[in-house]
Symmetry: D2
Subunit: 283 residues, 4 copies
């Protein structure tokens, strides 16, 4: 069953919920999900509202225009999407295929409602697996010297393939601001620590040396500052003094997969709103 989804943020004012739901009701829409949140610190109103497309009296292509009066009135930032527009996802991987593999399997199981037209890696070892899933594979090795060129070629490819979301599945390379600016809030990374602890390289080694009793993983939108973008999801697992760095890596692998896949699923289901370098997740 097709549906339309509105994600809204604006200054809080009387009547937003009433008028948005009236807009849907008067056009014969049946609300299937509605969730709202008010941030009292910043006086900001957030809403996610989803209604059945069937019998809705405005055609999909005209909804934005019809809604614009309301949007202007309340000074809204909003995004409108339709469940029948299946997002197109590119996965970036590197040598460690744990998260890549997990996403491909969840996709095959139907957990992730998207198309995955392509995988890009700076190594070749994922090639066979990716092709087994009938997905195009591009090996783009990155060096200091060719980085700008590779990023530019990558961006072109992503635009040509109409990619809506980029997932860094333990990609390892730092992307430049120029690249990031082309895909704002559309690049999800998994960092294998409980951010903001253990930013940067070798977080399991850092965790081991600090002697923490719990490790974590964090999925977040990528921004220019390393590992400092809006956090989407985190989870943790208990360790103890018997665990070697190798054990941390094994325990962490399960966290990484779960935390990354939740973030991707929520993004695909248009459940995430970004503001103030934080996220509202309407789960």
């Amino acid at each position: 069953m097709n549906s339309a989804i509105l994600l809204i943020s604006c200054p809080d004012k009387k009547g937003i919920t009433a008028q948005v739901s009236a807009f849907i009701y008067e056009n014969n829409g049946n609300i299937e999900h509605a969730d709202q949140h008010i941030d009292n610190q910043t006086n900001t109103f957030f809403m996610r509202i989803e209604w059945a497309s069937k019998n809705f009296s405005i055609k999909n292509e005209n909804i934005a225009k019809e809604f614009s009066t309301l949007a202007k009135k309340f000074n809204m930032h909003y995004s409108l999407s339709f469940s029948e527009d299946v997002p197109r996802v590119a996965i970036f991987a590197s040598r460690d295929l744990n998260c890549l593999y997990d996403l491909l399997l969840r996709h095959r199981e139907g957990q992730l409602r998207c198309k995955i037209p392509l995988v890009i890696s700076n190594h070749g070892n994922a090639q066979r697996t990716v092709k087994d899933f009938d997905i195009k594979f591009f090996e783009f090795p990155v060096t200091k010297k060719n980085k700008t060129r590779v990023e530019s070629k990558t961006a072109d490819l992503l635009i040509k393939e109409k990619i809506d979301l980029i997932v860094l599945a333990r990609y390892g390379q730092i992307l430049t601001r120029k690249f990031l600016d082309k895909f704002p809030n559309r690049i999800i990374n998994i960092h294998h620590s409980f951010l903001p602890a253990f930013v940067g390289e070798d977080p399991y080694g850092q965790a081991y040396r600090r002697g923490v009793k719990i490790i974590g993983a964090t999925s977040h939108y990528v921004t220019e500052e390393l590992d400092a973008g809006p956090i989407i999801e985190q989870d943790t697992a208990r360790i103890n003094h018997r665990d070697t760095i190798g054990d941390l890596k094994i325990k962490g692998r399960d966290l990484e997969k779960i935390v990354l896949s939740r973030a991707v699923r929520w993004h695909l289901e248009r459940k995430i709103l970004v503001y103030n370098n934080k996220t509202v997740v309407f789960d």
Copy 2:
């Protein structure tokens, strides 16, 4: 800041959200929280909506009457409450004062927005503590013989004291149907297991003998069937083969306190809707 809260359940139909929010908006109410849920299996609509009383054009005592047209139209079950009506809570305790003490401390800290006019126990050992908190204490020992009489006396006292919620803080006594029927969905119990596992007596002993690797606690509304009422909240803690029954009890105590206090807080904040022997918790 005072607010009004509506909890609604009814068959799902087009326009409920729109018309409920219009009712609030047209009477100059500012919605502070709104959450809804549709159970697709039973086609039931659930809503919790809270708005600022200030400037609302209908007086509290007239809201129900004004709302009744809408309520009838959609065949709603609903309850209307006002944040300024602070609920009155009676705590029932027995020998183990762990949960009683915890509730009293949280209340003193301001975590639980209620009045606690009285504590009833079938033992006397809580007397001093309860009085230190300036709360009336009644010792009503229960025997097979006097049970009916004690329950009747208890009910009279609760009605006289205008008690809105009864919390069984490890009370231990089974209440009769006659008593329960006077307080439907208004008696919260804590059971020291992960229900439906280990119903009835000595759940820690049962858990120990079964050799589970995780223990739990469950808060639920009390219904006639033992430990089978609508579950409000549960939590779990890891144990291992080194833990004796005594260790289980110590680990369980923290769970009991946390799980019971969450249920009580949510009930006081009118966040719980009961249906089908289950709960919707708008947290």
Copy 3:
């Protein structure tokens, strides 16, 4: 580095630790891990002790004989194994390949130190995947009528293949006592609930209908009584009223994989002792 592992249980008495460690030390063994546990309720002593084979003055094939004096003296049950004897594992699967796939991937990653010579399923859908992993695949459909015959054929195959451990990766079929008796404490099952809650069929449906707030998964050794064998590991995940049965299944899949793989790993590393229908896990 090769090592020898002793798992011991016996009535607790003075001197067990001293004499077992002296036996190893006097034969020039270097203890790498030692863990013990005393169950005070039953006065039972449990020990897992692992030492480097290198330089040990008794050959592997003679250790049991040399140790037998001590074993008799303390009336021990014990098992002796050597890390270089890599266990041979058969996986039983059915239509849902989630756990099968996970075990094969973890095995390929090196998380599970074993050989997996064969997979048996009562459906054919795993065939391609299993063969991609270079593992033999047997499709043995089970009906009421052929059950005895299939079990007998299966047992012959397992014995011929020198299988040490059978893993039921959502196998679905109930095994007869006759079959189970051939592999005592050597068949691990994953049940998709927090046992002892929701024994038997459709545990996610049972959980949904009961309205629990947390779901679980349990790995256990299989005994004749359904889902009542010694529990090896459990884990839980939070759900809420928004979750459909379908959501429970998705959330549960991650639990199932993690809980089953931990049990298999611990068994392979000889970390589990069974007694009194419970387990001691020296993790």
Copy 4:
């Protein structure tokens, strides 16, 4: 039943377990608990061994001397203690009495095997509560100016009272190196974040602003560098975008109490070994 406890760390060598357990056995001791750990990175051996004092052929006051030959041979750091020597604990508190209260209640329940002769606070508000528990209360307000003097007076008092362990129950004041040096690995602090994230002041505010999805608490031994001492225990709790800073504080309070009380209990039971700014916890 009285017991003796040895905590040992030394370079790993063949025969340590054998000779330590032989020492106990030959002197007619019955080992009740034994746990060991080898850190392969630093080649360090750790052991905790506990045996029944009853019938042990060496008197408590002579054990250290008798054991010294072995200790020298293996170049051991070790501490010997006796369960009948009940540790004496001083709690340092400030305005927020959450953790103080919790420790006092757990102590009264018998969860913490210690004496608590005194509580020191830089505020007076705990006075009544502390006196209700029949514990001496000292109000030592700290200012920049009097800090050295107050610390010196405090140290004298602690030494006079033969305090074995200092617990900072949300004490808030930073202790000087001079003071810390008098009580190495004998001061336990609770920090209300998941360290090393959010060191220093207002960790809940820091967590809120960073937009994390999980908060934590950490108990650790205090060293000179702020919040950087050996971590004893950590735990975490899930939050979401609806939680205000106030909600974080409420959720965090339960974590703080649990995490601090575990650390104190383990310390009192001599289960903690410190090395390399990390802890081995033999739980």
